[in-house]
Subunit: 336 residues, 2 copies
């Protein structure tokens, strides 16, 4: 697979991006990386790193979208940005997938603009993996659509289900609807309507699940609108960081604490790994007619490497086609 | 102050409720507790505990609302429940505040039905305290209203502000709006409209704040609709529990872990205390024309004691009157 990597996107670009690309082609046999961005800067970074020849190429793009830019303006005005040029390569059939740790709104908007939605899909969704006590679950949407209709949530359920089956390899994913009570009738207007629609769908729907239960592994896929999902994701990130800081502070306050902390270090390192977003390698944009992966702005080389691996997997398994088929056949089954 | 305690509400009622009441009158000089519920059961529990005479009384109620009951049915049909009788005592002027660890929907509905909203208030809100790295913040609404209008959020901002000033004693609370980006224009339709209204209000509005920042102590009051607030609260509870479990599991996997854990125990105990909802003693129902406190269903005797203390504080400072005044004067200032 040929994966386009936005060399300029992210807080530590282009260094970590190119490091991630180089490591990827060293480790894998089936990935070619096309680096898009400032050619001189990319060449300079590449020069200082050994890599297999022929599996990394460069396509120049003269502009960079900065993190603070307004989404619509950046999409309209920066026609030669690394994001625009990169997604354009997928659109033109010259690459199989796009990965960026840059401005997520612009990555999403540009992917939607150039690639369009898969047939049958009304709105795309950003899906992210989150840790549970046992494994992981998929949360979607985490920010593509802040105001959703019940039909959107129903499609998110179908899309998350395909992601879980094809990429995580779980046969019959348990799909839950994020709400404020387990009973069928609990929720707000949006979730109450969405509940009825998802119940009629061809997914293994386990009903409403509460925020307190999502991390127990009760569901493989958790569906919500993009506002709630983004708040939930950010709260989880913030709280996990805060809890570790609080623990460290408390530890510093007790006499035997520092020694205890040293002895616990391997455990804390393992724990951090389990809750480390770098490990999951980026959030796929589901419902787009192609493969587009959004990586965290703070991505390290490891995160980039994982995002390239995820992109390769999504493209190879043609997840976007499976999503389109699932949504169309679900519609046929429900409406005849 | 005379505080009514629902003796029958909560997972560990009536034992812990009565234990909490007895401890409260032992410790404080200015609280009388009226226990409402099954008189025989209450007398039996009281008998086995020493307590100062004259500061605890009993009012009989023949029915108990179970946790699984539908809110509207329970309110309509159980006219002699401990919740209904208890709130009735406040309504009749025979007590200053009501506390229950029972069915929160029924406590809210009954309080609203019997006491009504404070003058000027459209919708009440449930406010809860959450820990930050430095101190605490108030999150509201956490479940009274799952579908809100922008005006409701604006009133929540004013109500949270009063709570923070009068009860937590912070002079100029920083009030934030929970959203998905810091910029003024970020958010969904509801928060974008609410942003404009709160900005015109007489609170120290610091704008949108993201989920990842709420635990840093950036704001004293965080405003959101009841669906988001409830999800946020439950996710925080669930994640905190999960993180501690994950840490314990990781610790069990490393050789020196168990010894390290023993040495860290005081730190973990302090940490648990800081994140322990029992410590905060219940969530006030703001905007009701009277004092009504909802305690966690899993309340311990300590949680009940803290809820009684909070109820005493709210009643003594007449928070519900201050809220009414603030909302009316804000309306006058904005509309003339």
């Amino acid at each position: 697979m040929k994966i386009v990597l936005d060399a300029m996107g992210g807080d530590h670009a282009p260094q970590v991006n190119i490091e991630g690309a180089v490591e990827t082609v060293q480790e894998s046999d089936d990935i070619e990386v096309i680096l898009v961005g400032d050619e001189a800067a990319i060449r300079k970074e590449l020069k200082s790193r050994k890599h297999k020849p022929g599996r990394i190429s460069i396509v120049h793009a003269s502009q960079v979208v900065e993190m603070h830019e307004a989404t619509t303006t950046a999409i309209r005005k920066k026609r030669d940005s690394s994001i625009r040029v990169g997604v354009g390569l997928v659109k033109a059939g010259r690459a199989d997938a796009f990965v960026s740790a840059g401005h997520s709104g612009v990555v999403m908007g540009t992917s939607l603009l150039l690639l369009g939605t898969s047939k049958g899909v009304d709105r795309p969704a950003i899906a992210t993996l989150m840790p549970t006590l046992k494994d992981t679950f998929i949360l979607l949407d985490v920010g593509a659509n802040v105001d959703c209709k019940p039909e959107n949530l129903q499609q998110f359920a179908l899309m998350g289900n395909i992601y879980c089956r094809l990429i995580l390899g779980r046969e019959q994913p348990k799909v839950g609807l994020l709400s404020i009570g387990e009973e069928d009738v609990k929720g707000n207007e949006l979730t109450k309507e969405a509940f009825k629609l998802i119940k009629q769908s061809s997914v293994n729907f386990i009903g409403n699940i509460e925020g307190k239960d999502i991390f127990t592994g009760i569901a493989d896929v958790v569906v919500c609108d993009g506002f709630i999902g983004n708040v939930a994701l950010k709260i989880s990130e913030g709280l996990a960081e805060t809890i570790l800081k609080m623990l460290k502070k408390e530890i510093a306050n007790v006499t035997a604490g520092k020694l205890g902390y040293l002895m616990l270090k391997p455990a804390i390192r393992n724990f951090k790994k389990r809750t480390d977003y770098d490990e999951y390698g980026g959030a796929p944009l589901l419902g787009i007619n192609g493969t587009s992966i959004i990586s965290h702005g703070r991505s390290s080389a490891k995160a980039i490497r994982n995002a390239l691996r995820v992109a390769n997997d999504f493209a190879r398994k043609r997840v976007y086609e499976a999503i389109s088929e699932a949504i169309q056949s679900d519609l046929t089954a429900r409406t005849g």
